[in-house]
Amino acid sequence: MLQNRARAGGSLDPVSRLIQTPLKPVIVGLDGLGDQSATFWSGVRDANQLRTENQKLRDELTAVRNYLDSADAQESRIRDLRGTMNLPGLGKQKIFADIIAYVPYDNRVTLSAGEAQGVQPNLPVVTVNGLLAVVSTVSKNTCQATLLTSSAVQVGGLVQGLAPVPGLVKGQTSQRLVMDVFDDAGLEIAPGANVVTTGYSEFIPRGIKIGTVTETFRDVDFGVRRVFILPSARIGMTKEVVILK
């Protein structure tokens, strides 16, 4: 009755207060311990559920990562395909093909187009980045093309600038092309200048990008300026190519 009256008044009854006051420090101390204990026991109790949930989340994360990787790859492929489709023909007929094999030792690739599609030797193989290779041999449905980075290939190149400088570009390493030009007085070739095909050829039209000048070197003995070029199209950048006929 005493308790009910105190409760009705919104306060604690005297008996409860009398008991609680001396025990309060003990309860506060044990309460902190209780929180830790409760966390521990809830962890033990829910361990199985937590493990299942954790595994499920891991699986979902893996699936999302796979999806994102796949989406990135597909997006990149679509971009390449669009670029290849929109490549300028430069007055030539475009034959679309895929790189189906690569022989690094020979600097050679196999393409999925051949005689049946109208491919002939010496035709340029172009990607969205620029000139990649030149067709060397042709079979019925495939052909072999030698990469521009091969020392066996020589292509007429034109360093673009105020006064365009022509020369013969040939491969030196898988990452570098070289072009020798006569070292005339007043010849200026700045690093960063674009190098394109000259078009002085029966097969390769003018204006296909070959690469970018990285440095030049004056060879006094031969009286030439050696121009080093970073090829713009390299193997591995894309799978889709166009053969210009």
Binding site: Q3, D13, L18, I19, Q20, L23, D31, G34
Partner: protein, 158 residues
């Protein structure tokens, strides 16, 4: 004087058991049942005392636990007074630790049932199940506690 100090010491022990109950044991719920440490201590004490002392131990445990948990003091105190009296009346048989644990379980069941009668819960079936489970848990916990109390309070043979 010695018996008075003993009583005070046991009152403190029961009060501390109540503190442990409201802070730690109240959160440990196994299939709805909970260990009731103050009741186990009070009933263990009652089993080696006279019925009046048992009733007093039960009353004190009910009063402190009710005060700390904010429950109705009358219900807790009365249910435990009766359970303590019952246990105290069993002390004449001088139970050993196994039968003592069984009697603590029985006393817990009596206290729980009286509490259910005094303060009827909304779901009676669930409350009865929880009361039975709690009595079983109390019986298990009583084994070491009753053995200890018995060892401390048993009259020495000289």
């Amino acid at each position: 004087m010695k018996s008075f100090l003993n009583a005070v010491a046991w009152a403190v022990v029961i009060a501390l058991a109540c503190c442990v109950q409201v802070t730690l044991l109240a959160r440990m719920n196994l299939f709805g049942g909970r260990i009731d440490l103050p009741l186990v201590v009070a009933l263990s004490l009652a089993l080696v005392s006279r019925p009046s002392a048992g009733a007093l131990a039960g009353f004190w445990s009910g009063l402190v636990l009710g005060a700390l948990s904010g429950a109705t003091l009358t219900h807790y105190a009365l249910s435990r007074v009766l359970a303590g009296y019952f246990s105290g009346s069993m002390s004449k048989y001088e139970p050993e630790w196994r039968s003592g644990a069984l009697l603590v379980a029985l006393g817990s069941l009596i206290a729980g049932m009286i509490l259910v009668i005094l303060a009827p819960p909304p779901a009676l079936g669930v409350a009865l199940r929880d009361t039975i489970l709690s009595a079983i848990y109390n019986g298990v916990v009583a084994m070491p506690i009753f053995a200890l109390v018995r060892k401390l309070l048993r009259p020495k043979v000289v």
